[in-house]
């Protein structure tokens, strides 16, 4: 029975911890630790959150303690990145590219983000966690998660806009 859960969440957990530890071998160990910890703590899972959120929180804390890295720090609201270009324009330009070019563009834009920001954006889009759930997983306040996601999007759009401009030039 538990094997079904492991099978279902293993890639999501692996991908999440990989973004923190940055090594496949270590990510595998951390992911295994995560599932063992979750197994022994199953009776304490109170259904107050989604199972995935509860599991990601264990994964995040295990990865953080393994790397002896500090948790994500609170972010002051900083609007230095304000750039008034249109998202419609970015959409239009990106949609003109073929799928391979789009992926390459996104991959390069993601590389400009910090590890923490890559993890946050991945939790939001790939793992389908809400702002509230990301707040539970990372220990950040909800407003900080919102601000951080907003800045990550701006950064990604800004990077894509620059790079797509170069492609069209």
């Amino acid at each position: 029975m538990y094997a079904v859960l492991v099978d279902r969440y293993k890639d999501m957990v692996f991908s999440l911890v990989f973004k923190i530890v940055k090594s496949r071998e270590e990510a595998e160990e951390v992911a295994q630790d995560t599932f063992l910890k979750a197994y022994h703590a199953l009776s304490r899972f109170k259904h107050e959150a989604r199972f995935s959120t509860w599991l990601f929180r264990i994964a995040y804390n295990t990865a953080i303690s393994r790397t002896r890295k500090k948790q994500i720090t609170t972010l002051a609201i900083d609007e230095n990145l304000v750039e008034n270009y249109s998202t419609d324009e970015v959409h239009e330009n990106v949609n003109q590219l073929d799928e391979q070019q789009q992926l390459e563009l996104m991959k390069n834009a993601l590389k400009t983000l910090s590890n923490d920001d890559q993890m946050l954006i991945s939790l939001f889009y790939n793992n389908q966690q809400t702002v509230e759930e990301i707040s539970v997983i990372t220990g950040l306040s909800e407003s900080n998660v919102k601000v951080r996601l907003h800045r990550i999007r701006k950064k990604l759009y800004s990077e894509m806009n620059q790079r797509v401009g170069l492609l069209h030039a």
Partner: protein, 147 residues
């Protein structure tokens, strides 16, 4: 015109691109590796304050059950006006009757038919065990150490 400041939290373009991005996948043997560790390295439940509290309630319930049964068997409560054992002879007879399996079962059945006291005692024990189980609900996969 929509600007970057109006970007919706669930921005469609970013979501589409993010979902298309290849993600790091766990190795094929990952699940079997985890399950092997689960089966081979079962750890006992760690003693936490919550566990200690639940254990305390469990022991209190058990003690209360024993005390109540003892009181009901040995004490005389005339205000209840129920037919409790009034002498040790009755207890001895009950014990002797229980010793022979067939005769004992037959006698006990007859005794149960005739006596509401035993039924009350048994019901009390049953209720206490159920009460104890409710107290310990959620602990050790909902299994009581009494049941």
């Amino acid at each position: 015109m929509k600007t970057i400041h109006d970007t919706e939290p669930d921005d469609k373009l970013l979501m589409e691109l993010m979902l298309k991005m290849p993600v790091e996948k766990a190795p094929e043997s990952f699940t079997s590796g985890v399950m092997q560790q689960v089966y081979s390295g079962f750890e006992p439940v760690q003693e936490t304050p919550e566990l200690r509290r639940q254990m305390l309630f469990g022991y209190i319930s058990l003690l209360a059950a024993i005390l109540i049964v003892g009181v009901m068997v040995f004490a005389q409560w005339p205000f209840f006006n129920i037919n409790l054992f009034s002498s040790t002879d009755q207890l001895r007879n009950l014990l002797n009757a229980s010793m022979g399996i067939l005769d004992g079962i037959n006698s006990i059945t007859q005794f149960l038919k005739d006596s509401s006291t035993v039924i009350i005692i048994m019901s009390s024990i049953g209720l206490l065990l159920i009460f104890e189980r409710f107290l310990r609900r959620g602990f050790q996969q909902n299994r009581s150490f009494l049941l």
